[in-house]
């Protein structure tokens, strides 16, 4: 045990804050991580492997591809190899190790095939037994972050997943688990949200029981399914809506926040694990790590920026409400601190990672800066004159939710519907002069069909926008949350001075204008908006020769934790119980 560790434990007992060193806390420790293929998990893993080389061993739980057969560990490893070789989030790690990355990962990293949706995360029994004797902590990032997914998937991944992870943690010598949740489990209420778990109550104070809510949530989705003969995406939407409606009845903004709250409450009820819950707010583009602007997938502000980057000029929103955006690298640093403290058995039960407490940003400011950012973006040399004209002179403005102007989305939908129906009834060719009918009839009819089809597409797009606005309304209109970060700040204050620049939690220096215009908008334009327009974003080119990690799962290298004493050589039948 390092001096810093010893001091930390001694002071934790005495009740006085002790210096915290991330490097010392992780030294020689074995960490099992879930969700490393996701946005935040990947950044955190990259940061850990790149910036905390003192860590003894990192086991990553990776779900093998769905179609994988046979050796699932090999399939999961191959999946992770691709990520390690090409994920932009791991660029700094690749830059640090260059051609030696494979050797470094072989020394430090171990891929475990599994799926958090399965009991004991679907980890093969012999593998689980080995992990239980060496792992010091489980860090659980895996989750389904769609706002309104199918309730069954949300329960399987977000609620049961957390329980399964806790079951794995309970088997460790010291049953530590850090569970990544969301600040928005606060639900539909306003004002200060403290770093605490409220169990057995809905956000508006009504009694709730985790098991009963899970049962009702699934039953609601099944009942909705039973009432319809629709299949495929339409059925999925019906089930998702039923789940979302139930979440809102319980005063949660959506199914995602409900299921995350259920997971927190389930963990809080466990006496067999030492759980620390990390709650980020809206996780967005990186400030500096892995590089400025990095983002992945379609996150919360992406769709809003997408809307405002189009010809959409009225956003139902509350301009003065706080919009708690936090860069992903700040979240990764905060999580690193929480895990370090948990490794020293000195972590608070909950920490929040947001900006609304110490560096508030508002919805109105986000809308205005987005308009300004889009305007700057459209000044690029390849922009068309129409784009420049539109975005130079028309800005989106916040409007009340009950706005009934001509440009309000429900009204635009009405106009589009009327136009389509009128186009269906009127026959333009009849209005042509007699002499022109013979040659102009067909082109006019074709043009009419084209306009009708375009109107129909506009109507569909407006319906999608209307649904999107309904999903985002709780976050930009209905509530004004202040996610307190007192405990996180106190934890950061414990950090030894030499590590403050690297891992300190401090968002007070965030310059929102510069962040939004120079980092967030360009980051979303590169990594998120193409996805919303049906395009893809490129991975980094793979290295030559291709990265290939060792498959022998039980052969732990000498650099692993001092208490690793596993049998060498025997390749386990890992993944035989993992769900594909």
């Amino acid at each position: 045990m390092s001096d810093a560790n010893a001091l930390a434990r001694a002071n934790a007992v005495n009740g006085t804050p002790a210096p915290l060193s991330v490097h010392s806390a992780f030294a020689g420790k074995h960490v099992l991580v879930t969700g490393v293929t996701g946005f935040l998990g990947k950044v955190w893993l990259g940061m850990l492997l790149d910036l905390v080389p003192s860590v003894g061993r990192v086991s990553v739980l990776v779900r093998p591809p769905r179609r994988a057969k046979g050796d699932l560990t090999a399939a999961a490893t191959a999946r992770f190899e691709k990520i390690a070789a090409t994920a932009p989030a791991l660029r700094p790690l690749r830059a640090t190790h260059g051609a030696g990355l494979g050797a470094y990962l072989d020394a430090k990293l171990h891929v475990v095939a599994g799926d958090v949706g399965q009991p004991l995360c679907g980890i093969a029994p012999d593998e689980l037994e080995r992990l239980a004797t060496t792992v010091d902590i489980v860090v659980h990032f895996a989750g389904l972050t769609d706002f309104e997914p199918d309730p069954k998937e949300a329960v399987d991944v977000n609620v049961r997943g957390a329980v399964h992870v806790a079951d794995v943690a309970a088997r460790l010598r010291v049953p530590r688990v850090v569970h990544v949740s969301t600040c928005f489990v606060a639900g539909r209420r306003d004002g200060d949200i403290h770093e605490e778990i409220v169990t057995g109550l809905t956000p508006d104070g009504r009694p709730m029981d985790v098991a009963q809510v899970v049962e009702t949530l699934l039953a609601r989705a099944d009942a909705a399914e039973a009432k319809t003969d629709r299949r495929g995406a339409a059925l999925r939407r019906i089930r998702a809506e039923a789940g979302g409606d139930y979440a809102r009845e319980l005063a949660f903004p959506n199914t995602y926040t409900l299921t995350k709250s259920l997971a927190e409450q389930a963990l809080a009820a466990r006496s067999d694990v030492q759980a620390c819950v990390v709650r980020p707010a809206i996780v967005e583009c990186a400030r500096t790590y892995p590089f400025a602007g990095w983002n992945e997938g379609i996150n919360t502000s992406g769709p809003l920026v997408w809307l405002l980057a189009g010809p959409f000029f009225e956003l139902p929103s509350r301009p003065e409400a706080r919009f708690d955006v936090v860069p992903v690298d700040d979240v990764a640093k905060g999580t690193m601190l929480a895990v370090a403290a948990a490794l020293e058995d000195a972590a608070p039960p909950v920490v929040q990672l947001g900006t609304s407490h110490t560096r508030p940003f508002t919805v109105g400011r986000a809308i205005e800066l987005t308009g300004l950012g889009v305007r700057k973006h459209h000044e690029r040399p390849d922009a068309t004159n129409l784009e420049r004209l539109l975005f130079r002179y028309l800005d989106a403005v916040p409007v009340p939710a009950d706005n009934d102007s001509f440009l309000a989305v429900p009204n635009l939908r009405k106009h589009a519907r009327r136009l389509r129906s009128w186009l269906g009834e009127v026959r333009f060719e009849d209005a042509l002069p007699e002499g022109a009918r013979s040659f102009a009839k067909k082109p006019v009819a074709r043009a009419q069909e084209r306009v009708q089809s375009a109107t129909s597409s506009v109507e569909t797009a407006l319906r999608r926008i209307d649904q999107m606005l309904a999903l985002y309304k709780p976050f930009i209109h209905d509530h004004d949350w202040v996610f307190r970060t007192d405990r996180m700040s106190a934890l950061s204050a414990r950090l030894v001075p030499a590590e403050r620049a690297q891992f300190g939690w401090d968002v007070r220096d965030l310059d929102w204008r510069s962040y939004w215009l120079d980092v967030q908008i360009p980051g979303l334009a590169t990594w998120c908006l193409p996805l919303m327009n049906g395009k893809t974003v490129p991975d980094d080119p793979p290295a030559h020769p291709p990265l290939r990690l060792a498959r022998a799962t039980s052969a732990l290298p000498p650099s692993a934790s001092a208490h690793n004493h596993l049998p060498q050589g025997a390749a386990p039948n890992a993944g035989s119980e993992a769900r594909a």
Binding site: F313, R365, E368, L369, G371, L372, R375, K376, E379, R392, Y393, L394, D395, V397, R513, L517
Partner: protein
């Protein structure tokens, strides 16, 4: 005490008046519907400017900024500077600045416009923003413009007490320093320094230059 070269931006460095920057900023308020109304204020300030009341005209014109966010002022101001001021820098101004620099004079830019529009110009001319003397929009606690300018307002007729304060604050030796202006309104300013120069002057300044023996530089 430094020997300085003070350039009046409007006229001596660029041909565009400060009121054009006001019109541009106000014409780009967030709410499109407000733009026309606010531009009316700029139009109202024109007769004042033409009547020689440049300080009052400035105050009236900039009133249209009321409610505009600091973010918008910064972004649109920079856009105006890049798009309209930098391309409008006079060749003669560049030559004079090069000459001042060769003579190791400390270069100061003096403008009736807002500081937010002058960043790109100052950068282009290699002058640090700390040596740009311009107006600043007063902001309220929410970071929105009140429509007032922060005192002391840089107006059209600068001289006397303003120049003495300026020299004291900036550590400028008035007798040894050089000043470059372009309009009749700059007469008082030019006469306050040891060395004055009229750059492509208007009729009023040309007459003053002749009377005072100031050199006149033409483009």
């Amino acid at each position: 005490m430094d020997t300085a070269a003070i350039y009046r931006v409007e006229g001596a460095v660029v041909g565009r008046p400060a009121i054009a920057a006001a019109a541009y900023l106000i014409g780009n308020t967030q709410d499109v519907r407000e733009r026309v109304l606010r531009l009316g204020g700029v139009a109202a300030s024109l007769p004042l400017a033409l009547g020689g009341e440049r300080t009052l005209a400035s105050r009236v014109a900039w009133m249209g900024l009321r409610g505009m966010s600091e973010d918008r002022l910064a972004v649109i101001g920079e856009e105006y500077g890049e798009r309209y001021l930098v391309p409008a820098i006079k060749d003669i101004a560049r030559q004079l600045l090069a000459d001042s620099r060769a003579r190791k004079h400390r270069i100061l830019l003096l403008s009736e416009s807002l500081d937010v529009v002058l960043g790109p110009l100052a950068k282009e001319l290699g002058v640090p923003m700390s040596d740009v003397i311009a107006n600043r929009a007063e902001l309220n606690a929410e970071g929105r413009a009140t429509g007032r300018l922060v005192d002391p307002v840089v107006g059209g007729h600068l001289g006397g007490g303003w120049v003495r304060n300026f020299a004291k604050e900036r550590g400028v030796d008035l007798e040894r320093s050089f000043v470059y202006g372009a309009s009749g309104g700059d007469g008082l300013l030019l006469s306050s320094f040891g060395h004055a120069c009229a750059v492509t002057p208007d009729r009023a300044l040309r007459r003053l230059a002749r009377d005072n023996g100031w050199p006149v530089v033409e483009a």
